[in-house]
């Protein structure tokens, strides 16, 4: 007898999600905990696992549908001896329910210099050598594909499909944002430029869906409702650079790769305490400004699927090492597409860092309902006049982009002035250390 499988709870406060992709077909058998469907909630992609073994009778919801918690996703027969078909996997899955799946084979130990993108095909991947090569050249990670051929063999067509689909296109095109010391180190992936599969003068269309769609919606809403303005200043980071160089080894003893970002976060949380309007939310519906007494500082993480903003919770009560650890864990999760909705919820202010790519400064868009986003940029040595003498100092531009409904220009100027004092003398943080 067919029973209905309904969309389960996907996290606190999440009431609905967009069905991104079915991971099973009608007629497929599945085991308990096997991921059935990929849902997009808030900003994370979540794989919904089967609560018990069964067989798909009919897929009721369609890809692209908005599905509410409790709404029927599919009808199934329970308890059929399951033929396990490997899930395409590798996208986000909530940590507790992640299906057991052979890990992607990577020779971490044998990769002293650079890791390679895409990673080599794992032992479980069935594909001819020429298909593996083709996938590599198209920038498609063959480990993530579900083969349509016999015994789950990945065919050339599967790769073609993946390389023109939304995920493939991202991994193929955009150079991944390189990260400087500002961000947790991530070995640069080197996808060599490859000739496009199709001839010139052609166009390609793909649906705006998944994370990309969510990003688009959020940004349009932010830019259309919030009157943005940006204040720019310049920080003398010479001492910060020296301090970090000095502390790096100390942090390494704890197994932590110390970057500038934890320090900047700490300085921001201290400064936000003095300028409360920077750590607020504007509740549009109730016309209320919500002052937050906790400091959950978000940072922009560039992932193969697009921009995500996880946040470090309660920066005010953590030391720099703890913050560094949180950042690197969140960044790793973001990179693997494993951020949970909670990782991205309840942020109070965001920092974006474009330092390693370069440029003078940018005017980022606020992550609502927050009211400010700070930008930090490349640290470069510049001639600076100090006491009528030209000295070489490590300088960094810094911006505060604010919601003018809540924050005035003079506030932004004062805020940045105070923040830059803190950044200019790292020792000052000692006074406020928790």
């Amino acid at each position: 007898m067919a029973i209905e499988f309904k969309l389960p709870e996907m996290g606190e406060g999440v009431t609905e999600g967009e069905l991104v992709k079915w991971l099973v077909k009608e007629g497929d058998s599945f085991t308990q905990d096997q991921p059935l469907v990929e849902m997009m909630t808030d900003k994370a992609t979540v794989e919904i696992p089967a609560s018990n073994a069964g067989k798909v009778v009919k897929l009721i919801a369609k890809e692209g549908d908005m599905v509410k918690v409790g709404q029927t996703l599919l009808s199934m027969e329970a308890g059929v001896g399951a033929v396990v078909k490997p899930a395409p996997g590798a996208h986000a899955s909530p940590p507790p329910a992640s299906p057991s799946r052979p890990a992607v084979v990577q020779t971490a130990s044998a990769a002293p210099v650079e890791s390679i993108f895409p990673p080599p095909a794992g032992a479980h991947v069935l594909a001819t050598p020429s298909t593996r090569r083709y996938a590599r050249e198209a920038g498609v990670d063959i480990n993530n594909l579900t083969g349509s051929g016999p015994a789950g063999r990945v065919t050339r067509e599967d790769v073609v499909k993946a390389s023109s689909g939304p995920m493939g296109a991202v991994s193929m095109g955009a150079p991944t944002m390189a990260r400087s010391a500002m961000m947790p180190a991530r070995t640069p992936t080197k996808a060599l430029p490859t000739a496009t599969v199709m001839g010139s003068n052609t166009e390609e269309r793909k649906p705006l869906k998944g994370i990309r769609k969510k990003i688009a919606e959020n940004l349009v809403r932010s830019k259309q409702t919030i009157p943005h303005f940006t204040h720019v200043d310049e920080v003398d980071a010479t001492e910060l650079v020296a301090w970090r160089a000095q502390m790096k080894e100390k942090a390494a003893e704890y197994g932590i790769k110390l970057t500038y970002l934890p320090f900047i976060m700490k300085a921001v949380s201290a400064t936000c305490r003095e300028f409360a309007m920077f750590n607020t939310a504007l509740d549009d519906e109730k016309n209320e400004i919500v002052r937050k007494h906790y400091f959950n500082i978000g940072f922009a993480a560039d992932t193969p699927e697009g921009l995500l903003v996880p946040n470090v919770k309660n920066v005010e009560s953590k030391n720099i090492l703890q913050i560094a650890k949180d950042i690197s864990e969140l960044a790793e999760k973001a990179r693997q597409g494993k951020l949970a909705p909670d990782d991205m919820k309840n942020g109070t202010i965001t920092i974006t860092n474009i330092g390693s790519i370069g440029g003078l400064y940018a005017t980022p868009i606020i992550n609502p309902p927050e009211t400010a986003i700070l930008g930090v940029y490349e640290i470069v040595k510049k001639p600076v006049v100090i006491n009528d003498e030209v000295q070489i100092r490590s300088m960094m531009n810094i911006t505060a982009t604010c919601d003018h409904r809540v924050i005035d220009g003079a506030d932004a100027a004062r805020f940045l002035k105070k923040l830059k004092q803190r950044l200019a003398s790292p020792q000052s943080l000692l006074l406020e250390m928790i």
């Binding site: 020779t107 044998a110 990769a111 002293p112 390679i116 080599p120 001819t128 590599r136 063999r153």
Partner: protein, 482 residues
Amino acid sequence: MKTFDVCVIGAGPGGYVAAIKAAQLGKKVVVVEREKIGGVCLNCGCIPSKAMITAAHMFEKMSSLSEIGLSASNINVDMTKIQNWKESVVNKLTTGVSGLFKMNGIESIMGEANFVSAQELELNCSNGEKEIIKASNYIIANGSRPIEIPGFNFDGKNVLSSTEALTLNPTPKRLVVIGGGYIGLEIGSYLSKFGCEVTVLEANSSLLSGVVDTDCVNVVARKLKKKGVNVMLGAKAKGYKKVGNDLQVELQTEKGIQTVLCDKILVTVGRKPNSDQMNLSKIGIKVDQKGFVVVNKQLRTNISHIFAIGDVAGQPMLAHKASREGIIAAEVIAGKNAIADYKFVPAVIFTDPEIASVGLTVEEATQKGFEVATGQFPYAANGRALSVMDAEGFVKIVADKKTNVVLGVHIVGYEASNLISEAALAIEMGATLQDIASTIHPHPTLPEMMMEAAEAAMGHPIHIFLRPKTDRAARPTTRNAH
């Protein structure tokens, strides 16, 4: 100072292939070789040993043809002629490689190379000149050398490495081989066919330990015994001394200290990478605990413009692995997104009979969590095998019982080395048992056994009878039908 796009150090099967590939891809290439073009493989490894094995095999065959009605008398072994012929085979190949260098516009320099920095290489050329050259990319392909053990220093006279053993003339009367790995067994076997009394000392409890399918090893071990090769397992060689004209080898066994008399001692206990040369450590090239240069899947070392391939860059130390790595390194240097993503490196052992294998053994597959289906087909049930009078051995296929995907193939028997490539292709292509069974294999040929073994793994081979039962790996009953 001369500058190049790519400098390859070592002209063995890794280096020369890398050089040619890099040149094909438009690079200006130089190869530095301190001994001989072709490296160990062509000059004192794969090629000359196969020539000697063939000569010994033919001699043995000629002497045993009376049962099929052919008799020959006065079969002489002229070792000098055999050695000359072997050298001519080697020369044909090495001059072929030199010719390919020229045709591809590759400069080759004879001499020893040492890094003076990560950018520059000092050459002590064989003609006495010194030179410093510079290349944008380096490929280290300087190979490996035989391991020496305490008490048995190679002297080229009493204690030999494989290199000298291949040039033995005349054949010694008695030989002790220390190390029952594939090199020792290959050389020991052929010398035994030329009339040498061979004793193999192996410290482990089995020959070819840990390398291949144990059923395959057993076939070879039986044959060695039948041919009068004395194999001593669990025997550790301690040292030797000269007693009159004899060499007395002392060994430690379970039964205590024993001695064996012989004329020559061959030490084949393995090879070690040449990572301690060329100033590699001085310029900061990372080496692992076993002495292999650490590389990633694109064969890049920790110094990103320096690559390492072949024996110096890790196990298995096989020529064909080195060649493939050479191609990958050259392609990466030329900007292609190549990678070492082959599933397995096939291995062949030219014992009598030959062993060849690719992929997982039953034990390995079980360990990895596969429910395993195996199919075995004996040479004795194959028409071609009988008609060439080599009916020992079998083909064994290991597959995933759930999907029938082929995981490994292990062959022991005549021409196993030439049969394994089909298996390697099948595994790389992700073939299932049906794929192999449904491919028509021409009759009467040895590869039919592959098709039959695949059928056997699924329970229904034509030319052997398997009683219907759950254990598919059970020994088949042979019915000769050709």
